[in-house]
């Protein structure tokens, strides 16, 4: 289901007349509008949808309108034009009380510079939204504790924000947003103020959390690596207008214009490419049905020196090589168990950088239940690194 549906959203700061707005429809850009009419353009003609449980990443240079966009969604900034539907409800049609209720229950917001209340303890910060919504003391405490546990900050309840490191403060910010159990998380450069290692850690954790809580997330970032890592869908803004939207793949492989190209240019391919994008077909035989003779024949046929062994459900059991198989035949044993070895195992989303560090090849690509999906040989990795964009 569409969780967020934005159509022709526009924001012009000040009080522009209809006539001024129509100039934008005629294609006036931000610079011209400011120079000739004296209005600051925030956003114009922005349309997109976000499905339930999806992560939408908003990218663009400084001043391109990202913060304006995210604040229009919960009307911290009052839109000038267009419509915003959240779960089918027209946000622009809400009166003041309805809007407050909406903010209390539907949106959890996380800020770039954390915006924690310095006079409240960690748990009081996390409980803020619940308190505002009028929950009982016990409910506040309970839900806030749960949210803190979710971000791994159990035991810090009674500290004040300034006693915490940046990364921990932003966890509190995240917990404060999660505590109200909103359908949507709005995150405006939520990790930009953190140092690189902590930032990576937070990205991982957000992904893990996302797989558990399944929120719909609108995430703003400057950083393409972050966008590619987190985004199911990316939209790119330039001077208040939307220049491209699509999946990370689409944007990488097919940048709409020079502006997008600039973003994409700096991507480190070794971080973007994953095992699943470079893996080859994995040759395998089935235990206990197949013995050493079948193994040897298969290997000869495709010209390889070792072959994976799986069970009937394609669960990976191990790998055998040609020398061991011949030895087994010489000894007259037919059970492959004897010579089974453990290959390197990786998951489909293992990055190229990590693959590069592996010691033995071929490596088996297996999914979370252990089913064999493909194989990585050293040649694939080199080819992947040099892949033309």
């Amino acid at each position: 289901m569409e969780k967020i549906k934005v159509e022709k959203l526009g924001k012009v700061f000040g009080k522009p007349s209809r006539q001024v707005l129509s100039l934008l429809d005629q294609g006036w850009n931000r610079e011209r509008l400011a120079k000739e009419k004296g209005f600051a353009l925030g956003l114009w003609d922005v349309s997109f949808t976000v499905e339930e449980g999806e992560v939408l990443v908003v990218m663009g240079l400084s001043g391109s309108g990202k913060s304006t966009l995210i604040r229009c969604l919960n009307r911290l900034i009052e839109p000038t034009a267009g419509s915003i539907l959240i779960d089918g409800t027209d946000v622009r049609g809400l009166n003041e009380a309805q809007l407050r209720e909406f903010r209390q229950t539907r949106f959890g917001m996380v800020f770039q510079r954390f915006a924690l209340f310095p006079h409240r303890t960690v748990i009081q910060n996390v409980a803020y939204g619940l308190e505002i919504h009028g929950e009982s003391k016990d409910t506040c405490r309970k839900k806030a504790e749960d949210a803190l546990a979710l971000v791994g900050l159990k035991g810090w309840e009674d500290n004040y924000p300034d006693q915490l490191s940046g990364g921990m403060q932003q966890r509190v910010g995240l917990a404060r947003a999660l505590a109200i159990d909103p359908g949507i998380l709005l995150m405006d450069e939520a990790f930009s103020a953190l140092d690189p290692l902590i930032r990576k850690e937070m990205q991982e954790e957000l992904l893990q959390l996302q797989s558990r809580v399944g929120k719909t997330i609108v995430f703003i970032t400057h950083d393409l690596d972050e966008a590619l890592k987190l985004g199911d869908k990316i939209i790119i803004l330039k001077d208040g207008r939307l220049v491209q939207q699509g999946t990370p793949e689409e944007i990488l492989t097919n940048p709409a214009d020079d502006y997008v190209e600039k973003f994409v240019e700096d991507v480190d391919m070794s971080k973007v490419l994953t095992a699943s994008s470079i893996m080859k077909k994995a040759y395998s035989i089935t235990w206990p049905k197949d013995g050493p003779k079948t193994a040897l024949r298969e290997m000869e046929e495709v010209g390889i020196s070792s072959i994976f062994v799986v069970d009937r459900k394609r669960l990976l059991l191990g790998i055998v090589n040609a020398d061991d198989a011949s030895e087994l035949i010489r000894k007259g044993i037919s059970d492959l168990k004897e010579i089974l070895k453990e290959p390197s195992r990786v998951t489909p989303d293992t990055s190229l950088t990590e693959l590069f560090a592996l010691e033995s090849f071929p490596a088996a690509v297996v999914d979370e239940s252990g089913v064999l999906k493909g194989a990585i040989v050293r040649g694939n990795i080199i080819a992947g690194l040099n892949r033309e964009r």
Binding site: L76, R103, A115, F117, Y128, G129, I132
Partner: protein, 278 residues
């Protein structure tokens, strides 16, 4: 040709006459309440034996502001007692307390309104400028027709004189709350009142307390000046010394004022800074 003098003073006098004639029932009522409150305060303060009160104040100072201020309080108050200025000091303290209570219970709400509503702010600011630049003595004059000579007039003019910092610093403290925290409060759907009570006031507290501190200090200085209209207390000791040209006696009373000023100041400042840590 000479330009005739504008009848500004006359107009003000006429206005005051009009107000006193037509609203005397209000001024009488206010007068009665303040007078009674002040009397009760003075009587109770005077009923407590000096020894006990000194110890109580020292204890309070110790709890709120630390050992050094506590020791200073004991020594200073004992000196005042010894100089025979105890009664006058109690009268002054009770006037200061009465005036400060009135000034902050009017000033803080006005400051809040001024921070939240631009219209109020535009009205209040010029009035504050006027109140703060007008020589303090001038406030004494209209107080007399309203409330007559005595402590009520003193409290009235002291309140006018001492209220501006409470208003200004409350206003400032609320405005100084970082915009991103206001935004966070809004993003979670806070109403205006919730935002005020849960975010703005707690964060403005240290600044508001600094305003309260200034209000107390100004009250103290004005209460001394108000001796001219019969406020009594340490001010009238100073006043007597001037009239009889007794510099020594004037110095003693002045010293007593300084001592209680320091005690008041240090205690309220400590409270202010405690607010700053969290």
């Amino acid at each position: 040709m000479t330009i005739p003098k504008l009848p500004l003073g006359e107009a003000i006098e006429a206005a005051i006459d009009f107000l006193t004639e037509n609203f005397s029932f209000i001024t009488k009522a206010v007068s009665n309440v303040v007078e009674n409150a002040n009397e009760v305060l003075v009587e109770n303060l005077e009923k407590i034996p000096p020894m006990v009160l000194i110890l109580l104040i020292a204890l309070l100072a110790w709890r709120l502001a630390g050992r050094r201020i506590a020791l200073f309080s004991v020594a200073g108050l004992a000196l005042i007692w010894n100089l025979g200025l105890w009664g006058a000091t109690m009268a002054t303290i009770s006037l200061v307390i009465a005036a400060t209570l009135v000034a902050i219970s009017l000033g803080i709400p006005i400051g809040i309104a001024s921070a939240l509503f631009p219209l109020v702010n535009r009205i209040v600011l010029p009035i504050l400028d006027l109140m703060q630049t007008m020589p303090a003595f001038v406030y004494l004059i209209p107080a007399i027709p309203f409330f007559g000579l005595g402590p009520v007039s003193a409290v009235f003019s002291t309140v006018i004189f001492a209220m501006p910092p409470a208003i200004r610093l409350t206003d400032l403290g609320i405005r100084q709350v970082p915009k991103e925290l206001i935004e966070a409060a809004d993003a979670f759907g806070s109403s205006r009142l919730q935002k005020l009570l849960k975010v703005q006031l707690p964060l403005a507290r240290p600044t508001i307390m600094a305003g309260v501190n200034q209000t107390i200090m100004l009250s103290l200085s004005m209460v001394v000046i108000a001796a001219m209209i019969g406020a009594g207390g340490l001010g009238s000791e100073v006043w007597k010394a001037i009239q009889r040209f007794k510099p020594g006696m004037g110095f003693e009373a002045g010293l007593a004022v300084v001592i209680i000023a320091i005690i008041f100041d240090r205690i309220t400042q400590k409270i202010t800074h405690q607010g700053k840590t969290h």
